[in-house]
């Protein structure tokens, strides 16, 4: 998930927390000073309006959240273009060697541009698992019956213990002490599932790296994409 989306998510979370707390306080005032509120129409109307206004703020926050996180209409997307954009945005560190292997006759996949964020998330996680350098291997292969395309992200990083691997896709789970919001992999998997695909951790070994699989529905004619250039 890009930094912009993480920041937006954090802001909306804090906004909802504050709105929720203020609505609690309005109700406390209404209950604690019930007789006063009952006898003073202006006070009663003010508290009522306050609660309604806070409710509207919460509603606007929810609409904002939905407009940013709702998926666009899916359509045929070129994997080579999506991977190219993702690698460009993820900014591979100089110490990491990125190897890209695109199978021949790769079809387009059914997705939206949000797929770029999924691949950025996987790439950035891999880079952060290799603080001293290593290799990220990305491969894309069409399935034998050509109904799907399997994209694999394999790194030579530090890997994960079992208890961490089992919680990896849970919301708010983060392995990054102060910076991770814990929604990247949860959101990525939810998005991939929403377009009919799947995102799985296929392998992880402590000290031996991890491997993620994204499997997406194929659509349309196959194309021969030009070889991607992965720059430093």
């Amino acid at each position: 998930m890009s930094n912009t989306w993480q920041s937006l998510g954090s802001i909306l979370h804090n906004l909802n927390n504050v709105v929720g707390e203020l609505r609690l306080r309005v109700l406390i005032l209404q209950k604690r000073f019930g007789s006063l509120v009952k006898d003073d129409k202006e006070l009663a109307d003010s508290l009522q309006r306050l609660d309604e206004g806070l409710g509207q703020i919460g509603s606007y926050a929810q609409q904002l959240s939905e407009s940013f996180f709702r998926r666009e209409v899916t359509g045929p997307v070129s994997l080579s273009q999506v991977l190219s954009q993702a690698l460009s945005r993820s900014k591979p560190p100089p110490s990491v060697n990125v190897q890209l292997e695109m199978g021949g006759d790769l079809p387009h996949v059914q997705a939206t541009q949000n797929l770029v964020d999924v691949f950025v998330n996987l790439a950035v996680n891999a880079f952060e698992a290799m603080p001293d350098g290593g290799t990220l291997s990305i491969s894309a292969q069409v399935s034998p019956h050509k109904e799907s395309v399997d994209i694999t992200f394999s790194d030579t990083g530090r890997g994960m213990p079992d208890y961490m691997a089992s919680s990896l896709f849970q919301p708010y789970f983060s392995t990054k002490a102060q910076t991770g919001h814990g929604l990247g992999l949860w959101w990525s998997r939810a998005y991939v599932q929403s377009i009919g695909g799947r995102l799985e951790l296929v392998r992880t070994t402590l000290g031996g790296g991890s491997s993620f699989l994204v499997s997406l529905s194929a659509v349309g004619e196959t194309t021969q994409d030009p070889e991607l250039q992965v720059g430093s």
Partner: protein
């Protein structure tokens, strides 16, 4: 007794005040560890758990999700209401129910929704 677990000191204080005004005995905790500690020698009738619980002293976030699972595994008769200030998305709700939450309440829905969930959770079963 209701155990309220929320890392937001302001939200925790306000909700505790409201629950007490409604006639409920309420104890509070701000983290997973504190909640477990309070339950070492006592039980609660209901737990209200914020989805996002973070302990800045611990490099690993121990979230409300994991606390909900603890209740499911250690206090199976205790209902847990999970609150979230993040998304009211159905995907999140389904994930929380899988972890044992009796009800999920979005903070943005206002206190009435939470109070209704509390009444429902504490209603005697026939």
């Amino acid at each position: 007794m209701i155990l309220l677990v929320d890392n937001s000191v302001d939200y925790r204080a306000s909700l505790r005040c409201l629950l007490q005004l409604e006639g409920y005995a309420c104890e509070v905790a701000e983290s997973y560890e504190e909640a477990i500690g309070k339950l070492a020698d006592k039980a609660c009738d209901l737990a209200i758990v914020d989805l996002r619980l973070s302990n800045h002293k611990n490099p690993m976030d121990l979230t409300g999700l994991q606390l909900t699972e603890w209740f499911r595994d250690n206090r199976p008769g205790t209902p847990v209401i999970v609150m979230s200030a993040y998304l009211s998305d159905e995907t999140v709700r389904a994930a929380m129910r899988d972890c044992g939450a009796a009800e999920i309440v979005w903070k943005g829905d206002g206190p009435s929704a939470l109070l209704e969930a509390v009444r429902h959770a504490l209603a005697p079963t026939t």
